[in-house]
């Protein structure tokens, strides 16, 4: 059974794509079959983390317009993260980077029902353990649909007031949509912060567990989405935080298998 993980944040710039790619890569390297689908069709970006900088022949956009089957947009990147050795696989479904495609999506929107069907087909045809949905920031119809169909919602936020406030709204919405599991991930936290105190404040403010607190790191910033930082710098504190999230996801998968 596939565990569907939506990765979302109230605002942009929380490191959503970077965190998604690193968590997915770690799970695949540990032997899971994982797919990442970039539903941020308005501002795609996760493909650069897997080393792609040219246009794809087939993208999620083509599928949403009914040009192709969802399977045609799947790119196998298992080799990039060394997943085969452990029996794991990593697939990427990118969004189009072409300006005309993005303009069309913005103008016409797309069929959210078809998107949902795509998720389902993907999970079944690739026999996935995990399906990661990298969402567009903010609460629009598409992201709410992604949140609704997910078993776990990973909510990323930065330690600032706007994110604290906006995340509270998202948490409320997710609860009303009966999302089974909600995990918070605090990213870009300066190292001068008292982490225990912050974690306690988060617990009481959201009544939801915090899967990881990732440090604000110049090294991660300098890496600038150029590669999968947690694989190239496994001893870094940020990479340890990524493994904390991986641990939570693996634990949940083992403890309560999705029905």
């Amino acid at each position: 059974m596939t565990t569907v993980v939506s990765v979302h944040s109230f605002r942009g710039g929380t490191g959503k794509s970077n965190t998604t790619a690193n968590v997915a890569a770690n799970l695949a390297a540990a032997g899971s079959r994982v797919a990442v689908i970039d539903t941020d069709v308005q501002s795609p970006g996760i493909h650069t983390l897997f080393g792609f900088d040219q246009d794809f022949e087939h993208t999620l956009d083509d599928y949403l317009w009914g040009k192709i089957a969802i399977g045609d947009a799947v790119h196998d990147v298992s080799e990039l993260v060394g997943a085969q050795e452990s029996g794991g696989r990593l697939f990427l479904v990118p969004s189009s980077m072409q300006a005309t495609d993005i303009a069309r999506i913005l103008r016409d929107g797309y069929d959210v029902v078809r998107l949902n069907e795509g998720f389902r087909e993907l999970a079944a045809s690739l026999d996935l353990d995990f399906l990661f949905i990298d969402t567009h920031p903010g609460l629009n119809e598409e992201t709410m649909l992604s949140i609704t169909v997910s078993d776990i919602l990973l909510l990323l936020l930065r330690p600032d007031q706007q994110d604290f406030q906006g995340t509270a709204v998202t948490v409320d919405i997710a609860r009303r949509l009966s999302v089974p599991d909600l995990q918070l991930v605090l990213n870009k936290v300066p190292d001068v912060v008292d982490l225990d105190d912050l974690r306690a404040q988060m617990d009481s403010a959201y009544a939801a567990p915090t899967a990881a607190i990732l440090p604000l790191s110049t090294e991660v910033v300098i890496n600038a989405s150029g590669s999968l930082f947690s694989l190239t710098h496994p001893d870094h504190a940020w990479s340890q935080g990524i493994r904390d999230i991986v641990g939570v996801l693996q634990g949940r998968e083992n403890a309560e298998p999705a029905v």
Binding site: T2, M144, L145, T148, F164, Q165, A205, A258
Partner: protein
């Protein structure tokens, strides 16, 4: 650091001063010995020239069994020898000659016609033999009477043949006395200079170490988060030096660290998780009141179930 400096300088000074002391004493005795040698040779040569040849020839001709005190020439030579000793009391002058290839004392030294070889060692006899032909110096030599330096100078007749030889012994204790004197003069001076230099090193090292200790204490306080450092007296005063530069740099660093910490702690304050409940409820209401949301929440469970139906 102070004791390390002191130990290092003490070691260096000890080597240098030991060398100076050795050199002074050695040089003084060397000069003294050279002077003595020249003086002794000159005295022996002078006596050989000045002694009346006629009297010397007469005494040299006396037979072994004769009583020399009955000879006027012998008595005269004894007076001459005594007068030389009266002028330079430490010198022991004597006259010896050769008889049948054997050296014998004539005036002074051992009794008349006593063989030189009876009391003198073979090496000394060899030097005295050489004295028959030319003025000779013999360095330090020891016989049963003591340790000496000696000079031998031939007394020649009108025809150039040697009639007898003037010998002069000088006790080497004089050289030892000169060395002793040099030691007595030089050593106190060296000891005082040595002590003065050590005090100077102690003073200089204290001047260096004291501000360093204060900076060490100050850095300990910075580690504890206290930034109001009292570095008065070692920061730049009227006379700037490397130490005051260091203290200045230290003070500036402490100020900057303090400023940075203030900035950071103010950032930490902004990390308070504060949520405006009324505003949140308004935002949530705006979303949940839409038709899309009503539709979605009604179908939510069904959508999730369909997701897992494969």
């Amino acid at each position: 650091m102070r004791w390390k400096l002191l130990a290092a300088f003490a070691a260096a000074f000890t080597v240098v001063f030991a060398f100076i002391a050795f050199w002074v004493v050695h040089n003084a005795s060397e000069v003294a010995q050279q002077r003595l040698t020249e003086q002794l040779l000159a005295s022996a040569q002078g006596a050989a020239t000045d002694l009346p040849r006629k009297a010397v020839a007469e005494v040299a001709a006396l037979s072994a069994d004769a009583d020399p005190s009955e000879s006027a020439a012998f008595r005269r030579l004894e007076d001459e020898v005594d007068s030389v000793q009266a002028i330079i009391p430490s010198i022991s002058p004597y006259i010896y000659g050769e008889e049948d290839g054997q050296l014998e004392y004539l005036v002074g030294g051992d009794p008349f016609r006593d063989p030189v070889a009876r009391t003198a060692p073979a090496s000394t006899v060899a030097y005295m033999q050489r004295g028959l032909t030319t003025t000779t110096f013999e360095p330090e030599n020891t016989d049963e009477y003591g340790t000496w330096i000696s000079a031998y100078s031939p007394i020649t007749g009108k025809d150039g043949t040697t009639i007898a030889v003037v010998g002069m012994d000088y006790p080497v204790t004089y050289v030892q006395e000169v060395q002793q004197l040099a030691r007595e003069r030089v050593f106190p001076v060296l000891a005082i200079s040595y002590a003065a230099l050590m005090l100077l090193v102690l003073l200089v090292s204290t001047l260096i170490v004291r501000p360093l200790r204060r900076l060490t204490r100050a850095s300990g306080r910075i580690a504890e988060g206290e930034y109001d450092l009292d570095l008065s007296g070692i920061t730049r005063g009227r006379f700037a030096d490397e130490m005051s530069d260091l203290a200045d740099a230290f003070r500036i660093m402490a100020g900057k660290v303090a400023a940075r910490e203030r900035t950071l702690s103010s950032q930490v304050k902004r990390l308070q998780v504060q949520i405006d409940a009324a505003k949140r409820d308004r935002s949530v209401k705006e979303i949940t009141e839409t038709d899309f949301f009503a539709d979605l929440s009604a179908k939510a469970d069904d959508l999730r179930a369909r997701m897992h139906r494969q």
